[in-house]
Amino acid sequence: MSAKDIGGVAPAAWLALSGLVVVVAVPFAAIVLQAIFPELGAGSFARPFSLLSQTLGDVRLLRMTGNTVLLGLCVVIASALLAIPLGVARALYRIPLAPVWDVLLLVPFMIPPYIATLGWIMTLQPRGYMEQLFGFNLTPVLFSLFGMTLVMTFNTFPVVYFAVSRTVEAIGLRYSDVGRVFGATPARAFWRITLPLSAPGLAASLLLVFAAAIEEYGTPAALGRRAGFEVLVTGIDTRVGDWPIDLPGAATLSLVLVIMSLAAFLLQRWILTRRSYQTVGGKPQNAEKRELGRLTIPVMLMFGIVAFLSTGVPMLAILGTALSGTISGGLAFDNLTLRHFADVFGNSAGALGALTNSLTLGLATAVLTGLIGVVAAYVVVKTRIRGRALIDIMTVLPNALPGIVVAVGLILAWNMPGLPFTPYNTGFILLLAYCCILLPQTARYATAAFLQIGDNLEAAARVAGASGAVAFRRILLPLVFPSLASAMLLVFALASRELVASIVVAPVGMQTISTFIWRQFEQGSVGLGMAMAFVTIILTTLLPLLFLMLLRRGGLVRE
């Protein structure tokens, strides 16, 4: 018996669908319409398709598209190379100081990419922090495809690390032990059993990395332009930021990005639908972990080096700049000051208001995307409702929409004359923007988690007399909650530092953390901007950890 066609499913589907329509379909439709009707902004449907061929016929489009794919693949490969060994080691072995490494490897994800890039530039450029300390610089490495890949990988590999360590941990050693019993070597058991079984989590996280890499603006803008490496997002930004504004062109380029992301998504789906990945078929087993033994030193070195490069270097650069009275004063004792931090906490330029706004928005975004994401994933994986493929696609669409395009789409959609209610020019428009941009995070993780849960659990509950809703709440939700909770915490961190959409769509008079930092950089107050960035990174790392601890104490998440 399957739990597919029993009552309780339809309301869930409707909830997911209406959430998705408001959050994803509305702005996306506006973008498609804008690509077709160039004068949509002025409320006119004149001259349809007139600019489409002009944009698509641009010779640079092919180069930008090629560069975008290349960069995305480089970051995916580098992230996998960096994260899979670490994640597998963390899942299967008893690693000394494991929770500390987890926190250290979580931090890079909390560092806004544009800040990390600036930190790397200030460290590696001539007379940068590295030259001030050690007498040499690494500029040529930085402004190249290699440098971009490195900086972006350090930023995104935690996604893969946490996905791999959690899924491999959930699979545990039971299955590979069975393989060992039948004579497989440890390596063979790993390659043939453990790794393939963790494919859902791995594929989902790599897809997110690819999408994040092709959608990222800060690093390609700061490093790529100098290397002559133009990607679609920088091309879109030029069209939106350079007078005369070319909104239809930007919308068209965005659709190219969306198609790329969808292709990656379909590939991931194809990998996942070829077989079953259900490893959770009964009550949870106690995960036995092995001792590292002779591997202790190399593995610790590996963790140490990656943590230093991904967390240590950018954080030290940020702190160093925040503590410097002047940039030109460099790392000197008489240049040391707490002034910039005093300014942040003294609410200079509205710093505290920006913090409150962003943290509130981050929280609201995490809750909303969590709700929509888990319901949508449930409908897609565990029901046979018609149209669930559409729901699946809607949860992945925003993956490839650059922040700026979501912002423009939201303005186009919600600023039409004659709407009885509009979130435009209130904080809700930011909430909508963040939910749209970040929904794929929760939806992808929840989908991967549902894929690993056997249908028999839900069926057993139904046989024992539970209603569909009760079975969902008491059986399925607790099983996916660890994945969902970590996805929601990532959403919280990402939302509280989102930059590009915030700049365009922020209601008049409202600052967020990222627009605050960006303004300080624009007006030449790098120190104040970096102090704010440091405070933000610490807050967005500590708050989720505190929250997780509370959940654990409450028994909602297993250790």
């Binding site: 909104l247 004063g329 330029a349 809700f428 365009v504």
Partner: protein, 319 residues
């Protein structure tokens, strides 16, 4: 658990709602410094009781917002960092004709029927005094061996003021100066802030064509940086103030323009190291009368914008 989630959602929702409720009498979009608009808004509200709601971003981002909003526009007063937008908006018929009584002391070339400058910045060489390079006096000094690989040029495609300077200088010698800069290892480096930052740290020695007021501000904070205005001439970037014709609060908007051009308003402008638009307001920095300006036909240059950007990108490769 569910209850606490509900509580969180409602809590967050009410906070956001309250943020939106604060009703503004006029809405100002500005590409100028946030600190300046904050002080102007505060001073104006204290004087008139009219509230000012502000959206601050770069000129490009503001234009994207106005373009997307075109069906239902919200902005009353626009302060751009590029005079070109004032010309373009006037051509589209989007602007209200208004001459403020306080604009009397604003020189003629900084005002017309539909726009008036709030302040003016000039472009200069931002030079790191501790970089070990000789103090440059001329644009061409940056093409000398002492500045080999040490010069940043703000991207003329991203910065309106950088475009003006590039076009004006290129027009004098048919891009010869830019070719020699390129041969000397100068690079095009992002928008204004991105070009200046490496010079502050000392990775580069100078910015060719930096917006002056940000550099003066950094100097005042103690950075080892100075601005040089070449004798051969430079260009200025007036920051036009416009009232949009869809504004439902045109009287209040006019009062705000008056306030910006009042003694008090212009002193606030001078406080950010911009040149005040009114010639009778002193400032702690060189004024327009102290600078030699390159004589060029701004309108003709804008017409050739694409072509000039293409030439520059051909010379400097990369972009």
């Amino acid at each position: 658990m569910l209850k606490s989630i509900k509580g969180l959602v409602f809590g967050a929702a009410s906070t956001l709602l309250l943020a939106g409720v604060a009703h503004a009498d006029i809405t100002v979009y500005t590409a100028g410094p946030q600190s300046l608009i904050d002080k102007l808004a505060e001073g104006f509200t204290a004087q008139s009781g009219i509230k000012v709601n502000v959206f601050q971003a770069t000129t490009g981002k503001i234009m994207a917002r106005i373009e997307a909003e075109a069906a239902n526009p919200a902005v009353d007063v626009l302060i751009s960092a590029s005079w070109e937008t004032a010309t373009d908006f006037a051509k589209r018929g989007w602007l209200v004709s208004y001459t403020s009584p306080n604009a009397e002391k604003v020189p003629d070339f900084l005002k017309n029927e539909t726009a008036v400058a709030q302040g003016v910045s000039a472009l200069g060489i931002a030079w790191n005094t501790k970089s070990g390079t000789p103090k440059p006096a001329e644009w061409s000094d940056l093409a000398k061996p002492e500045f080999k690989d040490l010069v940043n040029i703000p991207d003329p495609a991203q910065s309106g003021s950088s475009f003006e300077l590039t076009a004006a200088l290129a027009g004098q010698d048919d891009f010869a100066l830019f070719k020699s800069l390129k041969d000397n290892g100068a690079i095009i480096a992002g928008a204004n802030a991105e070009a200046l930052n490496p010079v502050l740290q000392g990775a580069k020695g100078a910015v060719f064509g930096a917006v002056d007021y940000i550099t003066f501000g950094n100097k005042a904070k103690g950075e080892s940086i100075d601005v040089v205005f070449p004798e051969s001439g430079t260009v200025i970037a007036p920051r036009p103030v416009m009232i949009l014709n869809w504004s439902k609060n045109q009287d209040e908007a006019k009062k705000f323009v008056d306030y910006m051009l009042s003694d008090e308003g212009q002193k606030l402008v001078a406080g950010t190291y911009l040149m005040p638009a009114r010639s009778d307001i002193p400032a702690d920095r060189p004024l327009i009368s102290d600078l030699k300006l390159i004589d060029y036909d701004a309108a003709a240059i804008q017409g050739k914008r694409k072509e000039i950007l293409q030439q520059i990108s051909d010379i400097f490769g990369a972009n």
